[in-house]
Amino acid sequence: MTLPRKCGILIITLVLVAVLVIPILVRTSPLDQNLSLTLSQPGRDHLLGTDHLGRSVFSRLTHGGRISLAISISCAAISLFIGSFLGILAGFREGLTDLLIMRLVDAALAFPGTLLAIVLAGTLGGSMLTLMFALSATMWCDYCRLVRNMTRSLKHLEHVQAGKLLGFRTPFLVKKYIVPEILPQIFTLSTLGVGRTILNIAGLGFLGIGLQPPLPEWGSMVNQGIGFLSEAPWLVAAPGAMIFLTVFGFQLLAGQWSDNKGI
């Protein structure tokens, strides 16, 4: 394991511990407001100060991390499953199935992704579920393309062909020969995907399409803080740093492979 990878694992472990453990230990609610104590500086009472409604930034940061990570990890997982399934199907069956699935991928990639997010969040309200759906809608394509191309080349290898001649059924072949080969690659892709989703949520928050208040989430925290940049820079710096650290950690974890595919 390379040094950057180790650093990546370290960073992500730290973030996960902070997000999962600290809210249990520190009992300040992320929702409690105090309008007489807004925008207070980081200090003893509030480790990272308070926001424009007098809520503890530290508490919002740790609780918000759970939501940010939950959304992005589930997005990555959803796209991984859908993408790999269709990818294997397309790669293995070829012919019309392949053509249809790949044109579907083309269509999804050519489909303006922001459109979907805006329409969904605007009409159904920006719940976690709609956000997840909107963000995964185009993410699965990358997996599908990758898996399809790998499956196509793997399929022609001698041992897979031999298995086929022996009369093994397709699901068995896939499980035995294809999945183990593609697994490391798609894991790397999803590692990057988690980071990208966190950034995407932040971007949606910037356009005013994000989670419903008062739920904390890193992207929307940055967005709310931008207005107070000069008097309370910690409102942007704290969640910004967390987003940066997490995405950077996932980048490192994904390692050199990410360079090769340029994703």
Binding site: L99, R103, D106, A107, L109, A110, F111, P112, G113, T114, L115, L116, I118, V119, L120, G122, T123, L124, G195, L199, A202, G203, F206, L207, G219, V222, I226, L229, V236, G240, I243, F244, V247, F248, Q251, L252, S258, D259, N260, G262, I263
Partner: protein, 318 residues
């Protein structure tokens, strides 16, 4: 040659089909969403203060929202097939004119950003690729990881604070002149360069380690000749394919930056027409983005085939 022509024709029609499918899908999505379209259109047209129930009914009849979705779709189809694209439900302007205005700005931004990203990415990628693991390679890698991990609007806001407000070198936002282009194009260009420099690096590494280069070297060709005749040409194939995809993404994926810099490109238009449910406009934009995506891909493949005819035999089956 015949094979190339057939391949192009096939790809072209499939692309057309995909773009059309995207546009139709958009229509279905808009119709399937809950809510009263007439209210949304009225709100976008007259603003929140100008909304009244009489106006909602007026809009419903004059924009055909009281008819069946099939009728609306047919109307759009008729307009599109006659290359007219119809009229905006909100401003009443011809969709074509509005699209041309926003498209022009988007292309300007995309072209400038691509130029900046290539100016930075080419030397970065090539130098790191020639000496993988060197200090230069590591710092380039660190730089791109850093840039990729930051939301683009944070980088943009930083540039505005520094270059527009602190030093007043460039305007903070707007779209009138070339000076206004500098900050958004730089922000976007740096983000693109972070990724494309890595792609270039990989392409260079792969070519460098290839057998044909080894063979050419054994033949005794000099360094410069080697690079010019064999290196660049082979390395550009994957790079161009990637750049075409990136270009397509720049058109519709930068709505956040367009908002920050008040650069009314295609993303801006899309965001606005979605909020107002301006159906003819949304469909025209998504058709155009779809066509552009398909076109960019096709062009990239053609260029690659031209540069390296081997690609054709690999991609013969589309």
């Amino acid at each position: 040659m015949e094979k190339i022509a057939r391949c192009i024709a096939l790809r072209f029609f499939q692309g057309l089909f995909v773009a059309f499918g995207v546009s139709t899908l958009t229509f279905v999505l808009l119709m399937a969403m809950p809510g009263d379209l007439a209210v949304k259109v009225t709100m976008a047209r007259y603003g929140e203060d100008g909304l009244s129930n009489e106006r909602i009914e007026m809009v419903r009849t004059d924009s055909g929202l009281d008819r069946s979705p099939l009728w609306l779709y047919g109307k759009w189809l008729g307009h599109t097939l006659s290359f007219n694209l119809g009229y905006s439900m909100i401003s009443g302007r011809p969709v074509r004119d509005v699209l041309r205005f926003h498209m022009g700005l988007s292309f300007k931004l995309a072209a400038a950003a691509m130029l900046i990203s290539l100016i930075l990415a080419l030397p970065m990628g090539i130098i790191s690729g020639l000496r993988p693991g060197s200090r230069m390679d590591l710092s380039a890698s660190a730089f791109s990881s850093l840039m990729v991990s930051m939301p683009s609007f944070v980088v943009g806001a930083f540039f505005i604070l520094l270059l527009a407000i602190r030093f007043r070198v460039f305007p903070a936002a707007g779209f009138q002149g070339s000076a206004h282009l500098v900050l958004p194009a730089t922000t976007l260009g740096i983000g693109l360069c972070a990724i494309s420099s890595r792609v270039i690096r990989t392409a260079v590494v792969e070519v460098k380690n290839s057998f044909y280069l080894l063979f050419a070297r054994i033949k005794g060709l000099s360094g410069i000749h080697l690079a010019l005749n064999h290196g660049i040409r082979n390395a550009s194939v994957p790079v161009i394919t990637f750049l075409a995809l990136q270009m397509a993404h720049v058109l519709d994926g930068v709505v956040v930056l367009e908002n920050l810099f008040n650069w009314p490109g295609i993303g801006f238009l899309l965001l606005e027409s979605i909020q107002g449910r301006d159906i003819p406009m949304i469909q025209a934009v998504s058709l155009f983005i779809g066509l552009f995506y398909v076109g960019a891909n096709l062009t990239a493949d053609l260029i690659c085939a031209w540069l390296d005819p081997r690609v054709l035999s690999q991609k013969g089956d589309i």
